[in-house]
Symmetry: none
Subunit: 132 residues, 2 copies
DNA sequence: ACGATAGTGTCAATTTGTGTCGAATTGTGT
DNA sequence: ACACAATTCGACACAAATTGACACTATCGT
């Protein structure tokens, strides 16, 4: 297996869950596990298998907890993150993240090797249009 | 579990308590315990699980007790701090801290890995707006 | 001791999250 | 192209978390 590759169009169900495509599911089961961390960026979510997320976390945890400047630096990332889990083959995207990046129903999963991304389908289309 | 992550909007009840979201509650129960220390910063409260607070305390205890400069540095933090506890799944924020950071009803909990923060909802919104 | 204020535990109604299952769709081998 | 297997979809029923209110307890000052 070569990490997360390709794009998949899927739908969120009425509670905001998405079905993980079987290719991604296999990678998670074989290389990682069910634990994930999602981070909202400008326009999309990044999904980290827990193992990959830890690399970032260790860096952030070195901050001096009573130093406001240092807190300000990491807050945007941590505050927009969430840990979640693949359950019954599905991922629940928390409401605050769905709102943060404007996910409604149709979404696109984009493989990015060690991580993958979740885009609102219309965002993805217009981003793709801009590319060329 | 990856520490405190994400943002949660909750309301203080009529006595100034907040419901701890279950994700945070699980982390506290599994990794820490019910004992917390809250510190007022400029605009928000930091909530330390007791174990994490001790790390600061150790650092502060190294200061020379007869050195006024060093005393001046730590005084603002300690004087604005309070210890509290999760009881029946809720945290009572002491009145003087609610006033210190202007908490009324709607508040936002912000995960910061080893700690989390309590913001007044309007403060949080205007801070977020400034970011970009 | 008294009332006033602040703090605590509990509950029912609502909202949100989870597991399952059949039907529809897609993929695979022949 | 066909039959069969695997995957995906959407819906439902159930479980858990959240909310807001209420009643009760402790604490404080007079």
């Amino acid at each position: 297996m070569s990490g997360f590759l390709g794009t998949y169009t899927v739908n969120l169900d009425e509670k905001g869950r998405l079905n993980v495509p079987s290719k991604f599911k296999n990678i998670l089961e074989n290389k990682y596990g069910a634990q994930l961390v999602t981070v909202a960026m400008d326009g999309y979510l990044i999904v980290f298998p827990h193992l990959e997320w830890e690399k970032n976390e260790n860096r952030m945890d070195e901050m001096a907890p009573l130093n406001p400047k240092e807190r300000d630096e990491v807050r945007p990332y941590l505050s927009s993150a969430s840990d979640c889990e693949v359950k019954s083959g599905k991922i629940l995207v928390p409401a605050f993240q769905r709102e943060a990046v404007g996910l409604t129903k149709e979404i696109v999963l984009v493989g990015m090797s060690k991580t993958f991304e979740i885009w609102a389908a219309d965002q993805w289309k217009s981003a793709a249009a801009k590319k060329r």
